[in-house]
Amino acid sequence: MTASTVAPTTPLTGGRAPVGTKNIVWHRAQRVFLSVWKPISIFIPVFILGSFFTFGLGAISGRSPAALQLGDAATPDAVAALNHQFGLDQPFFSRYFDWLGALLSGNFGNSWVNGVPVIKLLGDRAAVSLSVAGLALLIGVVFGFIFGSIAAQFQTRWPDRLITTGTTIISVLPPFVVGIALIAVFSIWLRLLPAVGFVPITKGFWPWFSHLILPAIALSFDTVSDVARQLRTGLVSVYRENYVTGAVVRGLGPRRVFFVHVLRNGIGPALSVLGLKFPALLGGAVLIETIFGLAGYGVFAAQSAVSGDVPSVQAVLVISIVLVVVFNLLVNIILNRLIPSAARGV
C-alpha cells in the first residue's frame, strides 16, 4: 500500500496535456451526438425509398377506386369524377408528396372499397396484431437469449450441438408447418388450447392468453432461432478476443467475464436481428394469422391487396416501414451506447 504514496521520481510522460472538466463534458456530448446521428443518417434513405416503393406500387398496379366502386358499367364521366375526388388526376410526384404529407400528419386516406378512413380499420385490428407480435417477441427474446448464451458457454460440447442443430432445423421449418403441427397437437389431439379466434384481454387474461399462445409460439420460432444463432456467433467471436484473456488474467471469474465483458460486446448481431424482427412479426404474420383465424394487419393487407384497396395496403406497408426505421434507430442507439468503439466511423 505504500506504493501509491511514493511521489513519481521521473517527469510525467505518456499523457496529453491536462484537460479540464469542460472538455470532458464536450467530449461526451460529441459521443452522444454521433451515436444518435449516425443511425438516423442511415435510415432516412430507407424511409424515403421504402415509402416511395410503397406509393409506386399503388400507382403501377393500375387499380382505381372507380373499378372497385362503379364496376364495369361505369361511364367515363363518373370515373373521371371519382378519380378527381381521390386526387388521381394529379401528376405522379405531386400525388406522392401529398400522400407523404398526409401520412406525416397521421392521415392514411379512405378505403377505396367502403370509404371508411383506413386509420379506423387499422385501429380495430391493432389489439390483435400487437398482442400476437408482442408475445412472440417476448418468447423469441427470452428463449433466443437463453439458448444462444448456453450454446456459447458450452461451445462445441453437447448442449451447443443440441442447440445449434435444433435452431438450424427450426429456421428451415416453414411457418405454416409449425402452425399446423401446433394445432394438430395442442388443439385436436390434446384438446388443451383453442385453435382459432381472438378474445380481447378485457374478457379476462386466460381466454386472451389461451387464444394467443399457439400463434405466438408459431410466430416466435424464427425469432428464437435467429436470436440464438446470432447471439452464439457474437459471443463466440468475443470469447476469442484478447480482452477476455485480459479479464481472466486480472483474476475475474467466468460469470463476471461473461456478463460484464463478453455479453456486452457480443450482443450486437442479436440486437440487430431483433431490430428487423418486430416489424416483420407485426406486418409479416399473414400466414399465422390466416392459420389461427386472427384478424390482424397481415391478413388485412393481403385481403386489401387482393381486392385492390390500395390505400389500405399502403397503410400497412408504411406502418411496417416506420416500425423498421424506429426499431432500428432504437437498436442502433442502444448498441452505440453499449459498444462506443463501434460509433466512431466505420
Binding site: M1, T2, A3, S4, V6, P8, T9, T10, L12, T13, G14, G15, R16, A17, P18, V19, N23, I24, E241, N242, Y243, T245, G246, A247, V248, V249, R250, G251, L252, G253, P254, R256, V260, H261, R264, N265, L338, I339, P340, S341, R344
Partner: protein
Amino acid sequence: MSIPVAGRESAIVLDLKGVTIHDDVSDRELVKGVTLQLKRGGVLGIVGESGSGKSLTCRAILGILPKYIEVSGGSITLLDRDISELTPKEWTQLRGTNISAVFQDPASYLNPSIRVGKQVQEVLRVKAGLSRKESRKRTIELFHDVRLNDPEYVFQQYTHELSGGMLQRVLIAAAIALEPDILIADEATTALDVTVQAEILDLLGELKVRAGLSLIVVSHDLAVVAQLCDEVLVMKDGAVVEQGSTRDILYNPQHEYSKLLISEHDLYGLERFLYVPEDELEQEQLRYA
C-alpha cells in the same frame, strides 16, 4: 489485501522443472523441457524469436494455454503450489492477486466498450472488495503511479482514445492493482515506439523495487531484457539453449544462437537504450576481453 497463500514468504516464487508443452492439433512438442526459477524480487528474462515457445511458457504459468495445447510433462510450482492441481476457482483467486501479466498490443487486452478506469476499478472492487468510492480513488492513485498524465481524464476514456504507451500503463496499473507477487511482461514493449518502450521499462524496474514484484520479462529484443533482468533464458525452437546471469550471456555467450542475437544487436540494435552506463560497459568489455 492480497489473500495469503501458503509459502508466500518462500524465496522461490516460481519453479518450472522440465516443462514440456504439446500441441495436439499438429501433434508436436512446442516447448521442450524448460527449467527455471524465479526468486522473490528477482527479474528473469526470456529471449527468443517468435515461435520459440517463450510466450507459451508464460501462458502455461498463467493457466491460459489455448485449446488443444497442454502441459504434457514436467511441473510448474507457483508459490509452492503445483498448478496442475488447481481448480478453476483457485485459478480465478490466484490470478490478479498473486500473479498477473501484461502483453503485446495493449489495446486489445482492454474491453473497448468500457472506460479504461472502470476496468481497473473493477479489479479492485471484485477482488479486493473496495467500495465504489475507494476503488475509484485507488485507481486514480495507480494511474498516477504508472505515470499517466491527468489520471482523472484518462479514467473516463475508451481504449480507442488512448495511445499504445498509455494503454500499456493502464494495463500495468490493472495488473499491479492487487499487489501480486509475480508480474509477467510478455513482449509488453514490443509494439511501442522506442522512447515509450524505454519509459515503460523504467516503470517496470521502478515498480519492481517499490512494490516488491518478481518479474518475468519476455522479449525478442535483447536490449529490453538486458536493461531489466538479473538472469536470462535464451530459447530457440521450444528449447532453452542458454541460461545464466545477464552479464555472462551478454558478454560471454556460449551458444551459437546467443552469439548470433548479440552480434545482430551490435549491428542493428539500439545500444543507447541499454541501461548499462557507457563507461561501465567499457569496463565490462575489458574484463571479458
